[in-house]
Amino acid sequence: MGKNNHCRIAGRRLIMTAYFRWNDIMSYTINVVRSNGTGTLTFKSGTVNISETCWWDQDVVIDAGTYTGYATRMANKDDGTDGGKREGIWLGKGVPYNGDGSTANGFFIHKGTGPSWSDGCIVLSGSKVYEMWSEITPKETGNISVVIKDETVRRGRPRDWDCTRGMHSLWGGMPSF
């Protein structure tokens, strides 16, 4: 009986510890929806609510998909918004692009004012990158899901057979062309 109680208490402690540890590791989601030439990046966490136009190099286009992101700094760039190295979200190793099986290791979400800031990276206003980057803690951790989607716009729908037949019957036969 006493041994069983000890086991139950230990089990509860284990579950509680696992629960709190899980909650300690916040996870974040960045959504990028692309259409022709520009896209919209959205990010929500705490009081931060971003929905901002973003761009990319049209010749190097990351495949749509979900990637693990890391809030970090680009050590080879000295133009960070806070005066340090440039803030960015690294999309990890082996990110596919151009839909042909090619992969690359250096794609980021970082600051930029248009496609000329990108060789494949997704770029948006520096102040918005900094706002998003500052909200994400801890840094240097794969705690971000970056979801990239391509918007498909449906324009109307194909006419169905019944409708055509209906028209034909109204006209009393197939129209001649």
């Binding site: 190099d57 010749d59 190097v60 890391y70 970090t72 680009m74 050590a75 080879n76 760039k77 960015g88 690294w90 990890g92 190793k93 692009y97 090619s102 690359a104 290791n105 250096g106 794609f107 980021f108 930029g112 004012t113 248009g114 000329s116 800031w117 990108s118 060789d119 494949g120 990276c121 240097e140 794969g142």
Partner: protein
Amino acid sequence: MRVSPLKNATIAIAVCMTVSAPSAQAQDAVPIDAGDALELVEMLIGQDPSRYATPLAAMHGRAELYTKYRDLAQQGDPMAQRVWLLLGDYAVQSVDASLMQSYAADLLPAYAQDPKALLAALKDAPWLAPSTCRLLSAHFGSEDRPEEGRIGFLESERDRIAGALPARIAQACLQAIENPE
């Protein structure tokens, strides 16, 4: 412990890189760090650099390699300049967007600082010319830099490039600068 033949070859190449130096400026060249050489060779053969435990650390390592050899090249170290150009070739071939943007910003000012040294490096290693010229070209128009400087640069450097490099290489280089990808 078993060491794979690939690893042996990699280490051998890396050691060669540490002891070789461009002949013309051998006396000024500082041999590159053996760890850096191994990292670069591993990257060039598509392996994860063995000095880093994670892909994130390797990404930071590439950036550190970039800044280290850029800074040494800017200080006039000819060996470091060639290593920096080789890393630039890796950036282009592997479509490392982050590194390519950095070269677009930093390479042309380095050329302007000492064009003869950079062209001498390309003469000795003409296989680095396509990527180097592409990265020089990328300076104009990227990250809000004005596109207009391209024509002036070509006008002032055309003869120098044509005179320093073999004709075919020079022509391809000038074409890459004139017609950006």
